[in-house]
């Protein structure tokens, strides 16, 4: 039973090590699983359970609380059209109806070619640019129905692959804490002293440091 490929397994161990308690890595590891497979499989949850010292039931329990995790196959591009107030005031409902017709699926559905999953989403924090949508969590602002059609055409033609990675990939830059710079995480149960600078005050070298 091994879900993560070697590279991701190494990454998973690195992520787990950043937290004082393993379980905190639950959501990042679910993201990593979704990045690898596009959605979250049972194998993935079983492996995550063992990585974070939990049970598969708890992994699914935690994962299914969050909107972004998909427990069934979804399209290569998940299109989330915002339907919350600011977007609704500026025509989100029309955009969603249009999208449903254009893609031939109801919100929540996936096109038969597996390219698109359409979702009605909640506020995306781009309210001034309404109506907005996200494709695999990349924003498109002030989207008209014409814009939408053009987007779908471009995606179907593979024109936006550089801008929009496949579903599951979020940040394409990962945090990487260099070992020689890392302070490290300790279980709070094993650590009950104040940090050193709180005891002695900071000792700033006269010449300073940094870049």
């Amino acid at each position: 039973m091994s879900f993560f490929n070697d590279e991701n397994r190494k990454l998973a161990d690195e992520i787990v090590a950043r937290y004082p308690r393993r379980r905190s890595a639950m959501i990042p590891l679910l993201h990593l699983a979704q990045e690898q497979a596009g959605w979250i499989t049972q194998d993935a949850m079983q492996e995550i359970a063992s990585l974070v010292d939990s049970t598969p039931a708890e992994v699914l329990g935690t994962g299914s609380f969050y909107e972004m995790f998909k427990f069934h196959e979804v399209g290569k591009y998940v299109i989330n059209i915002c339907g919350t107030m600011s977007c609704q005031l500026l025509g989100a409902d029309d955009l969603i109806h249009h999208a449903e017709e254009r893609l031939g699926v109801k919100a929540g559905g996936t096109t038969s070619d597996g390219m698109f999953t359409l979702e009605r989403a909640e506020c995306q924090a781009a309210c001034t640019e309404a109506p907005t949508l996200q494709i695999n969590y990349r924003y498109k602002y002030r989207v008209s129905t014409t814009d939408f059609d053009r987007l779908v055409d471009q995606l179907a033609a593979g024109a936006l692959v550089d801008e929009i990675p496949q579903h599951g990939v979020l940040a394409r830059v990962r945090q990487s804490i260099p070992t020689d710079r890392s302070v490290g995480a300790a279980d709070p149960a094993d650590e009950n002293e104040p940090p050193v600078w709180m005891i002695s005050g900071a000792q700033l070298r006269p010449e300073g440091g940094g870049a």
Binding site: R21, R23, S24, M26, I27, P28, L30, S54, G61, G63, F65, Y66, E67, M68, F69, T84, M85, S86, L89, L90, E122, C123, A125, A126, C127, T128, E129, A130, N136, Y137, R138, Y141, D162, E163, L170, A171, R172, V173, Q175, I177, P178, D180, R181, V183, A185, A186, D187, P188, E191, E193, P195, W197, M198, G201, A202, L204, G208, G209, G210, A211
Partner: protein
């Protein structure tokens, strides 16, 4: 550090005006998010100033600045920091970057466009309060913000600004980028901590009221909003006194406000706290420039989707928490949503109620069951299937979530007297009441629009058989 793929377009929305620029000062540079730009514009001088002052004095400076939390509750950050019980270690910092309150758009800009400013803010907080590790929780759907913060952290670690012996001092702290996965309620600080612990993001019981006492892993934890922390470098560089020169005594500094909906120039503005009024914001030439098509203003949500609505009667209220509170609403997360005279009020209310019903974590019965029941009743009304009784039912279900007097805006015109915010509630957090807020505001201010939708009569109970009629 270069990003893979093509460069990502700058986040639009920010509109500069004449306000002093505390947190948005680098927003117009193309490379605002790079370390080079940050250093060229005074970056990481604030933490240097703090290190020279020592932790206690740094904390004192922030306390003196009366920096109000920008996440929604508006609690002074310096006071919150002081709630850590003495002698209990370790302590943690959790950065709330889970911006998702309807209408709110500012933290994402701060993370995408000036991540180093945020990182420096984190360092100052950790240094002042003795926080041994920082978790920077970015909303899951904000892939670009995650990339920018990750890249900035990688630069900052490499350059010695984060990690062991920062700037050669004995101050050492790790900042760990953490990211969510789509759940509005996680913006509530105890739910945020639950989520960070790898659990379902359900708010914790109160008391304790502040995670500063019992937070992450049961340890003292400071949860601060992104914008709050982004103010810290400026405060350390310029001093608390300079900060309090801006705005009013009780609401100093500036704040970022997103104005969306039916205005001519929707956008994110950095405005002077305490003195700027909603009229300035919505009608000011250097800001939104008025209502689209010069329509009349019907109503506006002054502080994020949870806030009770205002109308033109409240336009002259300034961005001052207590004034807005006693007028029956709140400034919340700096999100103004404007509805013009063409707005279909029941539909607008339904959109917000649906949001909160959908985002209920499911813990408290009134929110879990009541919120979705409100949504069902409201949907029925909007679709023309409602009955007379449904209007009362809406209010009664709402009363189960928020018993007692519910705040509403004072209006001589409408014969309303304000009940001060906040309201009483039967739930742990504000998600439940927030499902009722739009219903209550809309029904109070525009009941006629609901009544106009009622096409059906209640079934009249059959009279007692054989009774007189």
């Amino acid at each position: 550090m270069t990003l893979r793929g093509t460069p990502i377009a700058r986040a639009p929305g920010f509109i500069a005006n004449d306000t002093p620029r505390i947190v948005t000062s680098r927003f117009e540079y193309d490379d605002s998010y790079s370390l080079d730009r940050y250093l060229a514009t005074g970056g990481y001088e604030g933490i240097r100033a703090a290190l020279a002052l020592g932790p206690e004095a740094t904390h004192g400076e922030v306390r003196d600045a009366t920096l109000l939390g920008r996440g929604g509750a508006g609690f002074p950050a310096g006071v919150k920091w002081g709630f850590c019980p003495p002698g209990v270690w370790p302590r943690y910092l959790v950065v709330n970057g889970d911006e998702s309150e309807p209408g709110t758009y500012k933290d994402r800009l701060l993370m995408e466009l000036d991540p180093h400013q945020l990182i420096e803010g984190c360092l100052i907080a950790c240094y002042a309060v003795g926080l041994s590790q920082c978790f920077l929780y970015v909303r899951g759907e904000m892939a670009v913000a995650q990339e920018r913060v990750a890249a900035a952290l990688n630069e900052a670690y490499a350059a010695g600004y984060v990690g062991k012996n920062i700037l050669g001092s004995n101050f050492s702290v790790d900042i760990v980028l953490h990211w969510g996965a789509g759940a509005y309620v996680v913006g509530e600080e105890t739910a945020l901590i639950e989520s960070l612990e790898g659990n379902r993001g359900m708010p914790r019981l109160k008391p304790p009221y502040f995670p500063a006492a019992v937070g992450l892993y049961g340890m003292p934890t400071i949860v601060n909003n992104v914008e709050t922390l982004a103010n810290l470098p400026w405060i350390m560089n310029n001093g608390a006194a300079a900060f309090t020169q801006i705005g009013t005594e009780s609401s100093p500094g500036t704040r970022m406000v997103a104005v969306s909906g039916h205005v001519k120039r929707p956008g994110v503005y950095e405005i002077v706290n305490g003195t700027t009024t909603f009229r300035d914001l919505i009608y000011g030439d250097d800001m939104c420039g008025g209502i689209r098509d010069d329509n009349d203003l019907k109503a506006f949500v002054p502080g994020g989707g949870s806030a009770p609505w205002f109308t033109e009667d409240q336009l002259d209220i300034p961005f001052e928490g207590r004034v807005a509170g006693s007028a029956g609403s709140m400034l919340g997360s700096g999100a103004v949503m404007v509805m013009d005279s063409t707005t279909d009020i029941p539909s607008a209310a339904l959109t917000l109620t649906r949001f909160y019903a959908h985002e209920s974590c499911g813990k408290c019965v009134p929110c879990r069951e009541g919120g979705s029941w409100l949504e069902k009743i409201l949907t029925r009304i909007v679709e023309g299937e409602g009955t007379n009784r449904d209007l009362e039912l809406l209010m009664e279900v709402g009363q189960t979530i928020c018993p007692g007097d519910f705040p509403h805006a004072s209006s001589e015109r409408l014969g309303l007297e304000a009940v001060p915010f906040p309201y009483q509630m039967t739930t742990i957090c504000f998600v439940g009441p927030s499902a009722f807020t739009p219903v209550h505001s809309a029904m109070t201010l525009f009941r006629d629009e609901f009544e106009a939708r009622i096409t059906k009569r209640d079934l009249i109970p059959v009279a007692v058989i054989g009774g007189e009629s």
